[in-house]
Symmetry: C2
Subunit: 277 residues, 2 copies
């Protein structure tokens, strides 16, 4: 018998992956959580039927949501990740020597536990790292209750359906602005330029209306819809395009990010650039 | 009844697209040719079970195989496309005012005819353009029989199986070198950095052993395996990284390529850069 997992990324299009076995399946308080072992991508975390991360290509998302902001800020000490229960972003953040505290605000504790059990390489920094503070809390509430506290806030969310809808709202970005210090930077995952054009335009405009500097960059993630993924940055002071690439910190053990691509990722294909106008 | 077309891009992974109908199917002298109408990507040309091009994302491949070389050469007059029977590369090439002759050497005349019938926007330059010379011939033989004749040669091939195997051979690249003028440039499509790593390393090394300048760049093509696609350039004189971007020709009606991205596309993710070492 051959088992194939198929994710309909849109109503009319999807990806399909042959699986060895289903390692875990549950319905948490917030969502369906499945962990499957695929031949192509290794272990794969699936939330509400959507691929969140896989052994083989997780490095792209986790490096790219983290290092661009951390290498744009001159001295990031305190970092918040909203969502991101698999721990991949936290693992990358604590590579930066200046970071003293990385707070994870994940609403679904089960995602954290399943990731620790089945994706230990991704979740490696969630256990036993004195700089890491794992909190099973509502990230939106946390952001709204903190002012002038963080240097960097990363929004490592699922798709804008279900529990993650509020993470794409303008009010939330305003809350992030206020939770950041006077030279703080936010980065939000912002979906695919091929499939989510209206969302991208709205998120970019919202962030640009709140932060003096708004920037948008892309990367290649094969198991995400279309294979092209994007992040939107809002910054109070530092412009990622003004850094001196030769002086950037080169995070150890990366496979995608390097100081060499820090600026060029902001050079967008014409149809993507149009989305920001 | 729902009909879905699934392409296994590897043994264990694929894409699947809901289709309205199959518009054409035949077995030509060289390959299976299918033309299906999909809800997500519009009309889709499938050769030997592999997606070649679609209405919705064809612009990326055709712009990116063409304009990078044509904007690196200072005065490209005579251009050869080996393969590329759908005509998309030719359509882009003749946008450049300096081009006097664009020769298409496609081995399978049926691909040309099916494309003209079902993909008229892609094949638009194959009919009635005095600069375009459509030849149903073996492109390898054509290259081997011509010396010091072309300014640009583009290898717009299918996957390295079946009729296209010879298009990835070192002897063929040597033939291209000799068919090019003293300042000529070649570009070959070179598959996905996620799925075809050994091939990419070999093609790059082969081209770098023949041409004084070898360069490698990528772009986002959702319907191609992994969504990340690549091209390898061999150049006798001009370096794409040495052009003055502000003076580059901005081809009309492009949706991906612009002079602004001409250099940045060569800045590669770390794991891709490693393939070239």
């Amino acid at each position: 018998m051959e088992l194939w997992y198929t994710e309909k990324q849109t109503q009319n299009y999807g990806i399909t992956a042959k699986i060895k076995q289903t390692l875990h399946t549950e319905k948490s308080e917030f969502q369906d959580i499945d962990l499957i072992d695929t031949l192509q991508w290794g272990k794969m975390l699936v939330l509400d039927g959507m691929v969140m991360t896989t052994d083989k290509d997780e490095f792209v998302y986790h490096e790219m949501i983290s290092h661009v902001a951390l290498n744009t800020h001159e001295n990031p000490k305190k970092v918040l990740v909203v969502g991101g229960g698999d721990g991949g972003a936290i693992r990358e953040i604590v590579k930066h020597p200046s970071v003293e505290k990385a707070v994870l605000a994940e609403i679904d504790g089960r995602v954290i536990e399943v990731s620790k059990q089945y994706l230990p390489d991704i979740a490696s920094a969630l256990t036993g790292n004195p700089k890491v503070d794992v909190q099973v809390i509502d990230g939106i509430k946390h952001v709204m209750e903190h002012k002038n506290e963080y240097d960097i806030i990363l929004v490592d969310s699922t798709e804008p359906v279900g529990p993650a809808v509020g993470l794409f709202a303008k009010d939330f970005y305003q809350g992030i602005y206020e939770a950041l210090k006077e030279d703080g930077i936010m980065v939000a995952q912002s979906e695919s330029p091929w499939f989510n054009q209206d969302l991208i335009t709205r998120v970019y405009k919202d962030i640009a209306s709140i932060f003096p500097i708004a920037r948008y960059y892309t990367c290649s993630i094969p198991t995400y819809p279309s294979g092209l993924w994007s992040f939107t940055m809002g910054s109070k002071k530092y412009d990622p395009l003004q850094v001196d690439e030769s002086k950037l910190f080169d995070p150890p053990a990366t496979k995608y990010y390097s100081p060499k691509i820090h600026k060029s990722i902001f050079n967008l294909p014409k149809f993507v650039e149009q989305l920001l106008k």
